[in-house]
């Protein structure tokens, strides 16, 4: 047989599916319900491709590659079909990719991960998680207005977690060490960036751009870094060890910091422009006259800046922070810096400037009755802890860990390893395109099995059914019911730990979404939760009554 796949010619005597043939010529076709080593099932329809010769669409995972086919895997029609497939699946998907705290965090720090690392006493990991997205944490977290704590889902139950204090705890822990954690930087791009101002915007920009491999130099007119953080909060002056520690980390990332250097006085702006590829003005609220003197065009309102990119009207000069808009919350400076850095990076690579683009993020929306309880039941029920010494030291380590146990793990356990999310991102699928009238209730099954099961995230691809069957589980996964109410579940209503005796790991690996994820921790004492209905099941005598049968099977019986 001889055919073309995306115009690449392919010839073989073997019997192959289109997907297999595409693999051989290096064309990647998205699949969800198919996994090598198991039979094809042809249910998700993500792998559709078009035969240009006949104009027909085929599921690549099941359709044999036939002589003369002219397969197109990426045309607009196919991309649109896949997008709609994803949008249908998303309309029946319950859960959050990222936790609400991370979503509302202006710099998108992965809060829940940090909390779990603190809980697990993995402080090195915790500070790495923090510093990945949040520059100078110990400086910021003394004064951040902490939108994350308002966003924290636990606040609907009692109080949000002390996220700011936990991040500060990680930061302080780090800075108290001889050698604090230095965030990884990419290979040098050879590009130079001059940053005017060592305040939050300037330092954060330097941090983000250094991570991307650019050589940054910060010019600060005073003898200390921190800008607003150092000057605006007189009641809580920044301890020297924090100032010095954060400076050490920045310098450790390769950032040059020149203190006592005022641009326009000690050094001219034009000098910076000549000596570097990009200039960022982040010197705080500045008199328009001074700006004008520096050679920047100004209007009555101040400097003209493109709010989406941070670019000024002067080529290769960007600006952000109080110089553009004063009196913003501190963390806003970081948001600006992150976006501006992304734009500068793009510009340096000759690409259009789009700034920070967030990955597809599924949202659960308003919780239904009973759902908050499901989340709460997975966490430590104690009330919020408060550090005894708020000014100097913050949380004691054991209190930080205990506070961490209050986290309800709202984020998806497989958010970084979910085909549904990755493809939704790739194809620009929208969650609300085919919104249903009402969504089903979130369920979370953690029965001390090797995996956690969240049926609301299942796309009914049946891989768990095929895996448990192939591996000979006694009470493997099976399809339950049919139609829209189709579910996957353990046979004969057995518990999850009875269904996944041998293959929890394989099943988690095979599941293309977050429906089945590794149970990172078997149940501690306070996790006493069982989903409704299951509490009554194990006793056989009770199982004979109508109430004892879970809703799923009752629905399917065609009543």
């Amino acid at each position: 047989m001889k055919l073309t796949i995306d115009n690449i010619e392919f010839e073989s005597d073997e019997e192959l599916t289109i997907y297999q043939a595409a693999q051989k010529v290096g064309v990647d076709i998205p699949v969800m319900c198919y996994k090598e080593g198991y039979d094809y099932f042809t249910s998700c329809m993500m792998c559709v491709v078009k035969d240009k010769k006949t104009g027909r669409q085929h599921p690549a995972c099941s359709q044999q590659a036939l002589d003369g086919m002219e397969i197109d895997t990426q045309c607009e029609e196919i991309r649109e079909a896949r997008k709609m497939t994803l949008e249908l699946l998303l309309s029946d998907h319950i859960g959050d990719c990222e936790a609400p705290c991370q979503r509302v965090c202006p710099v998108h720090m992965e809060v829940p991960k940090m909390i779990r690392e603190i809980m697990d006493d993995q402080m090195e990991d915790a500070i790495a998680t923090v510093r990945l997205d949040l520059p100078i944490p110990s400086m910021l977290e003394r004064h951040c207005n902490a939108p994350c704590e308002t966003g924290c889902r636990r606040s609907k139950h009692d109080e949000g977690l002390a996220i700011r204090e936990l991040a500060r705890h990680a930061g302080d822990w780090d800075l108290k060490r001889e050698n604090p954690h230095i965030p990884a930087v990419k290979e040098s791009t050879g590009k130079k960036i001059a940053i005017v101002g060592g305040g939050p915007t300037g330092l954060a920009s330097a941090h983000y751009l250094a991570q991307l491999g650019h050589a940054c130099t910060v010019y600060e007119k005073s003898d200390r870094i921190g800008g607003r953080i150092a000057t605006e909060f007189e009641k809580a002056p920044l301890p020297d060890w924090i100032h010095d520690g954060e400076l050490k980390v920045l310098r450790g990332m390769g950032i040059e910091v020149h203190l006592n250097t005022e641009i326009g006085k000690d050094k001219g702006l034009s000098e910076l422009q000549e000596g570097s590829d990009m200039v960022i003005l982040a010197c705080g609220a500045t008199d328009p006259e001074v700006l004008q003197a520096m050679g920047m065009p100004v209007t009555e309102k101040g400097m003209k800046v493109n709010m989406k990119t941070g670019a000024t009207e002067v080529e290769n000069v960007f600006a952000g922070g109080s110089i553009v808009k004063p009196k913003q919350p501190l963390i806003k400076s970081f948001t600006t810096a992150k976006n501006l850095s992304a734009c500068i990076d793009e510009k340096l690579r000759g690409e259009p400037m789009v700034g920070v683009v967030e990955k597809y993020n599924h949202k659960m929306g308003r919780l239904l009755d009973g759902e908050l309880e499901i989340f709460v039941s997975g966490a430590n029920p104690i009330g919020r802890l408060h550090p005894e010494d708020i000014v100097e030291n913050g949380f004691r380590h054991d209190d930080a860990q205990k506070e961490g146990e209050r986290c309800m793990h709202c984020d998806c356990r497989k958010k970084d390893n979910c085909k549904l999310r990755d493809y939704s991102d790739e194809y620009g699928a929208r969650q609300a395109a085919f919104n249903g009238e009402e969504r089903a209730t979130h369920e979370h099954v953690n029965q001390n099995a090797g995996a956690v099961y969240e049926p609301g995230k299942c796309i009914k691809c049946g891989l768990c059914v095929r895996v448990t069957e192939a591996e000979g589980e006694d009470f493997g996964f099976t399809f339950v019911g049919r139609g829209f109410d189709l579910k996957t579940g353990v046979s004969l209503n057995k518990r999850l730990d009875e269904g996944l005796v041998k293959v929890a790991e394989q099943v988690v690996e095979a599941c293309p979404t977050g429906a089945l994820a590794t149970n990172e921790k078997l149940m501690p004492e306070f996790l006493g939760y069982l989903p409704p209905g299951l509490k009554k099941l194990p006793a056989k005598s009770e199982a004979d009554t109508e109430e004892a049968v879970p809703a799923s099977t009752e629905d399917a019986s065609g009543s």
Partner: protein, 774 residues
């Protein structure tokens, strides 16, 4: 149980059926035990038992009331019947069983008695024409009557020197119309008076609208048909044609007749009467514009008597095939005849046989697809019940042609009589050498099994059907490989529909040319239809291809009842579309019907009048397919649900701007993204009604139902014609009409459930339906 049925994985469905028969549901403990003592795995037990709608997982009441929600029943108000039933039995919302555990109510896809809509089955008794106001009566009647014995098969009051036959059909729909009682009465009276008559059960004539139908054939004289015969009329009917054998009985009879005439107000006049030998008259067209090939000898053949079948050319075709024709000859004949699959898709039967014949394999299977899923169709049921031997003959010929040695008949769970008659027919055929290891002494072998379905529309799809026979969930799989290459248990398999197989023997006996002479274009021969809905004379009809829909509705169906206007004809059920009245001159032809946006389908033809709402019909079908979707493909599972949600809110007057466009998008992607026919055709009813009745959809967005059907958009109102007879008030099940003798009555809208009873019982037609805000 296991010893009797078997312990292999393919025995799972029969085992579950046996468990349910015993407990009325599937107790979890029984399922666990089943897995312990058989080869059945727990995942199969759970997966399969939750897939088929027949299986219950919760205990039920002593008696089970099943309200048919097939298409014809739906347009006749099945939902109101169910609501009224639940109200009457005081079953709370979300529950199914009465407090005392006496009754459980369920809805059932289709009982195949569409002409008697609305239909309700209580245990084994089927009641036809159960309008909401008859609900109470029906339950009372059920409780009053004791279980009767079937009487099927043990007929033939063989009378020496008989002077004639009295023939009667007691198939499922005739029984629903009361045929059982009339039949017992016939036998009773014949025995009592010693009439020289043979009382015979025969296959259904298909004249369902006249059920119970009694045909009197006086030897060497004429045939008479009496429709809608009541038990009390049997004696007179018989005496009209036959005289009692001896004097004493004669006198008795006369006295009885005299007395009877004296006691009743009016002299007896026969109900609707047909006479086969008299030409002319309106009713005759029902019979005469039809051409009966597949249903040849309808109303004459005894369905359970092989002798009778043989006497009517039965097995002649089989003998011709086995003795004179090669498989190639047969396939050529079928090809030349132009026969196309009657299940709906219309694939040329001869070509399909050719594929199966050429497929290599030591073992080949043949399957008869009797999983008639369209909830408005009953052709297959009637054919299986009335012509079981003809179906088997077709199957044996097909098996011979393709080289199959084992076969299955997969019959819907809702058709117990069909299953029983086929099982009997198989046993008789084995005894007589038409089936077995040495068929007609030629050495051909064929073993046939009957598999009773368990309630899943999708099993009409061939790969799903095979999965069901194998004891699995009826989930379709990707084709190719096609069944002809790798079908049942991976072996080459031929699957044909009941009607297709029942047509084979006629073609062989009469030749391809004769069959081909009927029809037009690429649609040759005849096609049976289940004509139902808003039509005067419905039933199983068989017409030559090419006849216009209009002619079928007007001439055969006798037009629309109650002086209403024809609105549209639904063809193809949940997979089909609507043909608006103005386009009904379209001929019965696969291609022509597809062109107007419907499909030929398996033969369901439901007639709608101007009181039917197209949005409601679309919602009805979507609810059906959504419920019947196996749930495998993303588009079918979620797409149909989203479409149903939109249609439901339209019917509730909560439509939104952009809903129609969204419907169109969803319809498009569901067709494209579904694996099997169910999903691929599920959007058809929506698409075709959107095409022709978009204005009705738009009216719904504006909160109006032009046909005054959608309950949230209407209210009941009493006009000035009301003279205060209080009848409506007496019948109202929710006390929404305060009693006010001699005065104009008023309906309290907040209590009204729109059950329609008041409108039906009002003697002066003072109650009418108006728009919600009118």
């Amino acid at each position: 149980m296991v010893a009797k049925i078997g312990k292999r994985s393919e025995d799972l469905i029969p085992l579950l059926q046996a468990i349910q028969k015993k407990f009325n549901y599937l107790p979890p403990a029984a399922l666990e035990r089943l897995c312990e003592i058989t080869e059945i795995t727990p995942d199969a037990a759970t997966g399969v038992s939750t897939f088929y709608s027949q299986f219950r997982h919760y205990p039920v009441g002593k008696h089970i009331i099943q309200t048919c929600i097939g298409t014809a029943c739906h347009v006749s108000g099945a939902n109101i019947v169910d609501d009224t039933m639940r109200q009457h039995l005081k079953i709370a919302k979300g529950r199914h069983t009465t407090e005392d555990g006496k009754f459980t109510t369920e809805k059932v896809a289709c009982l195949g008695c569409c002409m008697l809509a609305p239909v309700v089955q209580i245990d084994d008794v089927i009641y036809g024409n159960v309008e909401p106001w008859k609900v109470q009566k029906t339950i009372t009647d059920f409780l009053a009557t004791t279980q009767k014995d079937g009487g099927d098969g043990q007929d033939e009051s063989d009378v020496q020197s008989a002077m004639g036959d009295v023939r009667m059909c007691v198939c499922s729909s005739c029984t629903a119309g009361g045929a059982d009682e009339v039949y017992s009465e016939l036998r009773k009276v014949v025995a009592e008076l010693g009439l020289p008559v043979r009382v015979r059960t025969v296959g259904c004539s298909g004249i369902s609208f006249q059920t119970p139908l009694v045909e009197v054939a006086v030897y060497n004289e004429s045939h008479y048909r009496y429709g809608r015969v009541k038990v009390g009329e049997v004696r007179q009917l018989l005496l009209k044609h036959f005289r009692p054998a001896n004097w004493l009985k004669r006198t008795g009879a006369r006295v009885y007749q005299l007395l009877d005439d004296l006691l009743s107000d009016e002299a007896w006049t026969p109900p609707t009467r047909f006479s086969k030998d008299v030409r002319g008259g309106d009713d005759l067209r029902y019979v005469d514009s039809q051409v009966r090939l597949t249903t040849e000898h309808a109303g004459e053949l005894n369905p359970v008597n092989i002798e009778d079948y043989i006497a009517h050319d039965g097995f002649k075709a089989l003998e011709m095939c086995l003795k004179d024709l090669t498989p190639d000859d047969i396939i050529k004949t079928i090809l030349d005849s132009g026969l196309r699959g009657r299940g709906g898709a219309g694939f040329p039967t001869g070509t399909k046989w050719g594929f199966a014949q050429k497929a290599e394999g030591d073992l080949k299977y043949i399957i008869c697809n009797g999983d008639e899923g369209d909830p408005g169709a009953f052709m297959d049921r009637m054919i299986l019940e009335s012509f079981p031997f003809r179906v088997l003959e077709g199957m044996i010929i097909a098996a011979y042609a393709v080289g199959a040695s084992e076969g299955y008949l997969y019959i819907r769970a809702e058709y117990p009589l069909a299953t029983e008659r086929i099982e009997n027919a198989i046993a008789v055929c084995e005894e007589r050498g038409y089936l077995g290891d040495n068929i007609l002494g030629t050495g051909m072998r064929l073993k046939l099994h009957v598999i009773e379905g368990a309630g899943a529309f999708v099993c009409g799809e061939e790969t799903a059907l095979m999965s069901a026979i194998e004891g699995g969930r009826g989930m379709p799989r990707f084709r190719p490989p096609f069944p002809a290459q790798a079908g049942l248990w991976g072996k080459p398999t031929l699957i044909n529909n009941v009607e297709t197989l029942a047509t084979i023997s006629w073609i062989i006996r009469n030749g391809a040319e004769k069959f081909h002479a009927y029809g037009i274009g690429k649609s040759r021969g005849t096609k049976t239809f289940a004509l139902a809905g808003k039509v005067n004379r419905g039933g199983l009809i068989e017409v030559p291809m090419g006849m216009s829909i209009h002619k079928i509705v007007e001439e055969i169906g006798g037009g629309i009842p109650d002086g209403r206007k024809l609105k549209a004809v639904l063809m193809g059920g949940p997979s089909g579309g609507c043909i608006p009245a103005r386009m009904c001159d379209v001929p019965v032809d696969f291609e022509a019907i597809k062109e107007v946006g419907a499909i030929m389908g398996s033969g369901g033809m439901v007639v709608l009048d101007d009181t039917d709402c197209m949005v409601d019909i679309a919602r009805y079908f979507m609810e059906f397919t959504q419920d019947e979707s196996c749930g495998k493909c993303t588009h079918c599972r979620i797409g149909t649900k989203r479409m149903l949600e939109i249609l439901t809110r339209l019917c509730n007057g909560q439509g939104r701007k952009g809903d129609l466009e969204k419907l169109e998008t969803l319809a498009g992607i569901t067709v494209e993204g579904s694996l099997c026919g169910l999903g691929k055709t599920a959007p058809n009813p929506v698409s075709s009604s959107l095409l022709y009745y978009r204005d009705e959809y738009e009216a719904h967005i504006n909160g109006q139902c032009p046909s005054k059907k959608c309950m949230p958009l209407i209210r009941y109102d009493i006009t000035d014609t009301c003279f205060g007879c209080t009848r409506c008030s007496q019948f109202c099940p929710t006390d929404a009409i305060p009693m006010n003798p001699y005065h104009h009555h008023v309906i309290q809208d907040e209590l009204c459930t729109r059950c329609d009873i008041c409108l039906q019982v009002c003697p002066v037609d003072a109650i009418h339906i108006v728009g919600k805000d009118q």
